[in-house]
């Protein structure tokens, strides 16, 4: 194996890692706060990608602005979805709502995919590159500015999200609800608002992932499937509902994947993922970084 291919593996690995970290952090947030298993996360990613494409190609915004637009709109989409689907569900059926909510996410994912198919047709909508040019480290080793920027945006988004959770009052409220919803309610935190906010945030993270990686993975109706499976993989590997673990786990899985893809090819790579997961579940079922916060056993 040459140095160049090692370098390339490293680059693709970290980029994928950034994507998975963004997606998985949002998924872990919903899982931790609302206890809902969301299966529409891939479609939120798809929506983000289409929004980025619309802003950049159709409206001609510059890259940063279009990604920001996509992020904000994704947030609004997430908030609306929570208000329209999950809020009434929660109010109507107290006990059974979790299972129903999770089936609603399955239905929504199916629906959104096909709505995208009708609206945007099965055509790849991408951009060749947000930014032109590349930085050469040596004659054979380089990195395009486009990829580097995508990665930077992912890192900034994760960092901002992390600071928000740690440093702001609202972030603390979210963490309090994740730890103990009833206790949080008792000290006067409005649960419904926190749920809506968390859903919006998680949708925004997925949207940023979709929009910032538009030049690598063009927008397509069924583009969400693989990132959805992978982010669930990361969440389970890192420990259910553990946001920090999901971020670190995202990078680990991204790197592992690009190595096994290089060594074994596409079909076997999925087998490797399953084998790793089996080992982890055998040795440490609470996940790599799992604490017993949310519990892996039935609540």
């Amino acid at each position: 194996m040459q140095l160049t291919s090692v370098w390339n593996l490293f680059i693709t690995g970290t980029l994928r890692g950034g994507l998975y970290a963004l997606m998985a952090a949002g998924l872990a947030l919903i899982m931790g706060v609302m206890n809902v298993s969301s299966f529409m996360h891939g479609e939120l990613y798809m929506i983000g990608a289409y929004l980025g494409w619309l802003a950049h190609v159709m409206l001609g915004f510059d890259p940063i602005l279009s990604i920001l637009c996509a992020a904000l709109t994704s947030f609004v989409v997430g908030v609306l979805m929570e208000k329209v689907f999950f809020h009434p569900l929660r109010r109507k059926s107290e006990k059974e709502w979790l299972l129903n909510a999770y089936l609603v996410t399955v239905g929504l994912s199916f629906m959104l995919q096909n709505v995208a198919l009708v609206v945007f047709k099965p055509v790849f909508r991408g951009v060749p590159a947000y930014w032109e040019g590349s930085i050469q480290l040596s004659p054979t080793m380089g990195i395009s500015i486009d990829r580097m920027m995508s990665f930077l945006i992912a890192v900034v988004a994760i960092g901002a999200f992390w600071l928000f959770l740690r440093r702001t009052k609202m972030g603390r409220a979210i963490r309090a609800v994740a730890e103990d919803a009833r206790g949080a309610m008792l000290i006067g935190i409005e649960l419904n608002n926190i749920y809506t906010l968390s859903f919006g945030l998680s949708s925004m993270l997925a949207g940023i992932a979709g929009a910032s990686l538009l030049s690598l993975t063009p927008a397509y109706p069924t583009m969400g499937g693989v990132p959805l499976a992978k982010s669930w993989y990361v969440v389970i590997l890192a420990g259910l509902g553990n946001t920090r673990g999901a971020i670190i786990g995202g990078f680990i899985v991204g790197m592992l994947e690009s190595i096994s893809y290089y060594a074994l090819g596409a079909g076997w790579q999925d087998v490797v993922s399953v084998v790793i997961l089996i080992l982890i579940l055998l040795v440490k079922p609470s996940g790599l970084f799992g604490s017993e916060v949310k519990g892996m056993l039935e609540r």
Binding site: F85, G107, N114, V118, I236, A266, D270, P285
Partner: protein
């Protein structure tokens, strides 16, 4: 209490037989449903409609197996299509590569899916339901990947050509075979559900803690349930391989799991017959809507959301409501008559 006493003493054998049938789940409406299905091919000679019936029955039977897990132990099998696909590929490869009889292939497919189900269940079912669901899902993705990559064995996306059963290309024999299989699956699962084991399943599904305190070992029962459902999936897959004649990895795609899931839930969670009836209502409608392409699938998703949000009991809940209403009317009627006779 009084009623059972009356039954055993006065009416005797016939009622006892009916009671036995009922414990097998074969109440009068269900029996009628199966009888109607059995005579249908005598009147319908159109191969296209017959194939549609087979597909409906196929989805209905899958929904039964799916509901056997989801509705009772409250764990969703997200890799269901993968187990169906494993059964299909195993049985087809046994027939093609080793030249065994297709019936032995059926056994092989069932056992393979059952063993894989047992192993995944053993690993994940002691944890929260989402672990088993996701593990099954990843296993399904891996199986699909394997079927795509191992071109020299499965011919990948080109499709594996499977010889028809007994050399026949007519649809009616397949229909009868599947009908027999479905009745068998229905009777077996109903008998399990009505037994003590079924009681344990339900206890686990409704309140895990209470079940555990009363001495039920949840993991053991969950694994038994999961294994049975996966084995049934394998059996149905083995049938499907011969029926459809050409296998592609796409048959294991996640979307097929979602189709089964939607039918099972629209039929009603926790009923075995609900999914069967829902399948016969939905499959033909969606076949008819096929020219609408994606819009059809939007309706599909929308329907699932509607049912989950506004009527989570599904079709079976609806039927039960109608049944109660009729019963209520009848009781009211007899009560009214009694009153009037008293007056008279």
């Amino acid at each position: 209490m009084q009623k059972t006493y009356e039954n055993t003493s006065a009416i005797g054998l016939g009622t006892r037989f009916a009671g036995r049938l009922r414990s097998m789940g074969l109440s009068i409406p269900i029996l009628a449903f199966f009888v109607i299905l059995a005579v249908l091919p005598q009147f319908i000679k159109d191969e296209y409609i017959l194939r549609l019936l087979v597909i409906s029955l196929f989805f209905g039977a899958q929904a039964m197996a799916f509901n056997f897990t989801t509705g009772f132990i409250n764990v969703v099998n997200f890799g269901f299509a993968g187990f169906v696909g494993l059964g299909a590929y195993t049985s087809a490869l046994l027939v093609i590569e080793l030249g065994v009889s297709p019936w032995l292939g059926f056994v092989g497919g069932t056992v393979a899916a059952g063993i894989l189900g047992f192993l995944t269940g053993l690993l994940t079912l002691r944890l929260r339901g989402i672990y088993a669901a996701c593990m099954a899902w990843f296993v399904q993705i891996a199986l699909m990947g394997l079927a795509t990559v191992n071109v020299n064995l499965t011919r990948g996306a080109l499709g594996l050509v499977v010889p028809p059963l007994g050399g026949t290309l007519h649809t009616a024999p397949y229909f009868y075979l599947l009908l027999l299989m479905s009745i068998g699956i229905y009777v077996v699962t109903t008998m399990i559900v009505n037994s003590n084991m079924g009681l344990a399943f339900r206890a686990i599904g409704q309140n895990l803690l209470a079940a555990r305190t009363s001495g039920v070992n949840p993991t053991r029962y969950k694994v038994i349930n999961w294994t049975i459902a996966c084995a049934i999936a394998g059996l149905l897959g083995s049938f499907y391989a011969h029926f459809i004649g050409i296998l592609t990895p796409d048959m294991m795609h996640f979307k097929h799991t979602v189709e089964v899931l939607a039918i099972a839930y629209i039929g009603g969670r926790g009923t075995l017959w609900g999914g069967l009836i829902a399948s016969f209502l939905m499959t033909p409608v969606f076949e008819y809507l096929k020219p609408l392409m994606a819009v059809r699938l939007i309706i599909y998703g929308f329907f699932l959301i509607l049912v989950m949000m506004f009527y989570p009991q599904g079709l079976s809940g609806l039927f039960q409501m109608i049944g109660e209403w009729i019963k209520g009317r009848r009781e009211k009627g007899t009560a009214g008559k009694a009153e009037s006779s008293m007056e008279g």
